[in-house]
């Protein structure tokens, strides 16, 4: 199918392009930019006047909940939500049930994702068997046969530091990136809110900042020793980011992301026990949020991601600490990122880069660009559309969002996956 995207503002940071031009797509690929190829006849023309055309978004941390937790979401429901959000590649952490420590689980995910046909799905393999933090998983096989893009222990930190060292050494020799959820389990002490005045006022079990900084510090030492390529996921504290920045400057092979909600919410937003604000790592202080935004400005944060965790309503219907942590974040990733552009924290090119090219690079994927002959994974959005977030209207099976009633700007109008229109807004 031949598609012409007409007169959109095309932003492609990888190629340093920001220009209004036409995009020609055939056989799933971008075949020409601005110049009509001879004999090209569009089967479909998308009028992108006043719209922005960017590479499809690559989201580093998305839980699809399948296999094992289908009551919260399925590969079909969540990839449809991704498509509706301009996201064309999602990276799945290994904490499905069973977890991703065999190729069989990856095959199941791949098959269902292919059947749904809405979004590319790549997987992180379990770092340790059953995510138990004891034995190494068959990560070389998972890489070669199942094309896992990295290893991670999900949200279960490896407590035994010797196991962590060995796992990093082994991952390094497999050439795999390790994705880290930096949390010292002892210091976190089963908490559910950032330790500070708010946790004190509400009497909630608290997670101190040191639960993150102590873990980052430990992991940085091991990364230096083992030489593994590492990515720090959803950093929430200003001090941890500072430590990572320093280590980066010293040449350590590391990258870092924050989930978009940590750039918009703080512990105060919990109000009187709003369970939609229950996330791990917890929403931190104003000072932390300011530090993360400052870091973003200074290009210290490589990637913005949704840290999507859809839940069924029951998971959030209990006293705060008894609820399950997580936000259904796919559908707010782009509008909340645009908010950072609108309030001049970052410019549009930087935003696009941190949503597309940078995460693709970390995953080692040939994606996140609008280069000639690359796969036509494309997101088209109207940056000026005002809308009000309402979790109940989410495409995702998870309606759990603390952003309901937020006035946001920017709405995806079309999403293309390998040159097919997988999402189109209803007018």
């Amino acid at each position: 199918m031949n598609i012409l995207i007409k007169q959109g503002r095309m932003i492609d940071p990888a190629n340093n392009i920001d220009k209004i031009q036409d995009l020609y797509i055939a056989d799933g690929k971008i075949i020409s930019i601005d110049k009509k190829p001879s004999g090209f006849k569009a089967d479909e023309t998308i009028d992108a006047n006043d719209q922005i055309v960017i590479p499809g978004i690559v989201d580093l941390c998305v839980r699809l909940r399948e296999p094992g937790l289908e009551y919260k979401g399925t590969i079909a429901s969540e990839t449809a939500a991704a498509a509706a959000s301009g996201i064309t590649t999602v990276c799945v952490p290994p904490d499905t049930e069973p977890c991703i420590d065999t190729t069989a689980v990856v095959e199941l995910i791949n098959q269902r994702a292919a059947a749904a046909g809405k979004c590319h799905v790549v997987t992180q393999a379990a770092l340790t068997l059953g995510l138990k933090g004891e034995h190494l998983s068959e990560m070389a096989i998972l890489k070669q046969q199942a094309k896992s893009v990295g290893v991670s222990n999900g949200l279960k930190p490896v407590k035994n530091i010797l196991v962590m060292r060995r796992a990093m050494e082994y991952a390094a020799s497999c050439g795999m990136t390790i994705f880290l959820h930096p949390e010292d389990v002892g210091l976190a002490n089963n908490g559910c809110a950032h330790e500070g005045a708010i946790s004190t006022r509400l009497g909630l079990p608290a997670i101190p900042e040191s639960a993150e900084t102590a873990a980052v510090s430990r992991d940085l030492m091991l990364i230096e020793q083992t030489g593994v390529r590492a990515h720090f996921s959803h950093i929430s504290s200003a001090n941890a980011l500072q430590m990572i920045v320093l280590a980066k400057q010293q040449g350590l092979p590391i990258t870092v992301d924050t989930s978009i909600h940590h750039l918009h919410l703080i512990d105060l937003d919990i109000g009187f026990f709003d369970s939609n604000c229950h996330v791990i790592p917890p929403l931190r202080s104003q000072r932390d949020k300011d530090g993360l935004l400052q870091g973003l400005k200074q290009n210290a944060i490589d990637v913005l991601c949704s840290d999507h965790q859809p839940h069924c309503p029951d998971a959030k219907l209990a006293p705060f600490s008894a609820t399950e942590p997580g936000i259904s974040g796919l559908e707010t990733l782009l509008p909340l990122s645009l908010r950072l552009v609108n309030n001049k924290t970052i410019d549009m090119q930087t935003m696009v880069s941190k949503l597309t090219y940078e995460p693709a690079k970390i995953l080692g994927l040939d994606a996140g660009t609008l280069s000639m002959n690359s796969a036509a994974d494309i997101c088209i959005f109207n940056p000026d559309t005002d809308w009000t977030v309402n979790g109940d209207n989410f495409v995702s099976a998870g309606h759990n969002t603390p952003f309901s009633d937020w006035e946001v700007q920017g709405k995806v109008t079309h999403t293309l996956l390998d040159g097919r229109i997988v999402y189109q807004i209803n007018h």
Binding site: T200, R201, L202, L204, P319, F320, S321
Partner: protein
């Protein structure tokens, strides 16, 4: 919409009593004044007023309690309400019935008020958010968050002895970190205008963010007790000894236990309070607990009048709105 609004109905009247955090001084004063009117009911021949006749109150206790539950029960009965006590082993909620399902079932039995105690912070707010519009919820203690009726009976007791809150120096001693009582006391004392609130405890029992709470931290009893008007002891739960919070009961009593010797550091007319149950020899010496400055049993008696006041204000409101419509 402000979250604290949940405690008030559309007419701005107190509907639930969940926390003191966010309540105005006038509301607290109204509770204290109303309680003053009820204080004599218990001393009369007929210990009953017909204010809540025909109302059904359910004491929903997910955590063991003798004093609080009994005084709530007595308060309700003296107001002529029908009372049902339900003690729920928290394990029964893990049998599969969610807290919300349990509430729906109890609501179906047509009750007017839940008095709730729960081991998780925010449980009372959660219940208040999900009950039918005609039902009131009173927090009888949720996790480490709040125990507002306890704090109000403490304020009532202080006012009876000290009259003017704005001239007081108050010391709270013990496990402030894990205490819902302390949190509610601090909010109440601040709201009523107490200029100096001290917290005396080792750092392991002091929560973070004390500046925002408006308290001054002391680690030394001699310094902290100097010239205070009110000494408020907290109960030290024995399980606190099992972690790395404190070395031993022996050391705790030695350092932070109140003795007649230490009480002398406070003003001569200082009163000594404790929410109970007391651990003799752990946080309090027997001679002091039973001594002339102790108002511990008065607190228990006052608890009934204060709870009558809060119940009648929240439920009585509904009686009047029903007449109106």
């Amino acid at each position: 919409m402000k979250q604290t609004d949940i405690q008030f109905d559309q007419n701005g009247q107190l509907r639930h009593f969940l926390t003191i955090d966010g309540l105005k001084r006038s509301v607290l004063t109204e509770i204290l004044d109303t309680a003053e009117n009820f204080a004599t009911v218990g001393t009369q021949q007929v210990k009953k007023v017909p204010l809540l006749r025909g109302k059904t109150i359910i004491n929903l206790f997910f955590e063991a309690s003798t004093r609080t539950r009994t005084t709530f029960e007595l308060a309700a009965k003296r107001l002529s309400a029908d009372v049902l006590n339900i003690n729920i082993d928290t394990s029964s909620t893990s049998k599969g019935e969610s807290l919300l399902d349990m509430l729906r079932n109890l609501e179906a039995m047509h009750c007017d008020m839940f008095v709730v105690r729960h081991n998780l912070s925010g449980a009372a707010h959660f219940i208040a958010q999900h009950v039918s519009p005609h039902i009131s919820v009173i927090n009888a203690g949720d996790g480490q968050h709040a125990h507002p009726t306890q704090a109000m009976l403490d304020m009532f007791t202080i006012r009876r002895h000290k009259k003017d809150f704005t001239k007081l120096r108050v010391a709270i001693i013990g496990d402030i970190m894990h205490s819902r009582v302390a949190r509610s006391q601090i909010h109440a004392l601040n709201t009523l205008g107490v200029p100096e609130i001290r917290a005396i405890a080792p750092n392991t029992l002091i929560p973070p963010g004390t500046d925002e709470l408006g308290i001054h931290v002391y680690h030394d009893m001699e310094e902290g007790l100097k010239d205070v008007d009110v000494v408020m002891m907290l109960r030290l739960q024995r399980e606190r000894m099992s972690g790395a919070l404190l070395p031993s009961e022996h050391e705790y009593f030695n350092t932070y236990g109140i003795t007649s010797e230490k009480l002398k550091l406070a003003k001569p007319d200082a009163i000594l309070m404790h929410p109970g149950p007391i651990n003799r020899g752990v946080e309090i010496e027997s001679a002091v607990a039973d001594g002339p400055q102790s108002v511990i049993l008065e607190q228990v008696t006052n608890g009934i009048a204060v709870r009558m006041a809060i119940m009648s204000m929240t439920l009585g409101r509904q009686a009047s709105t029903e007449v109106d419509s």
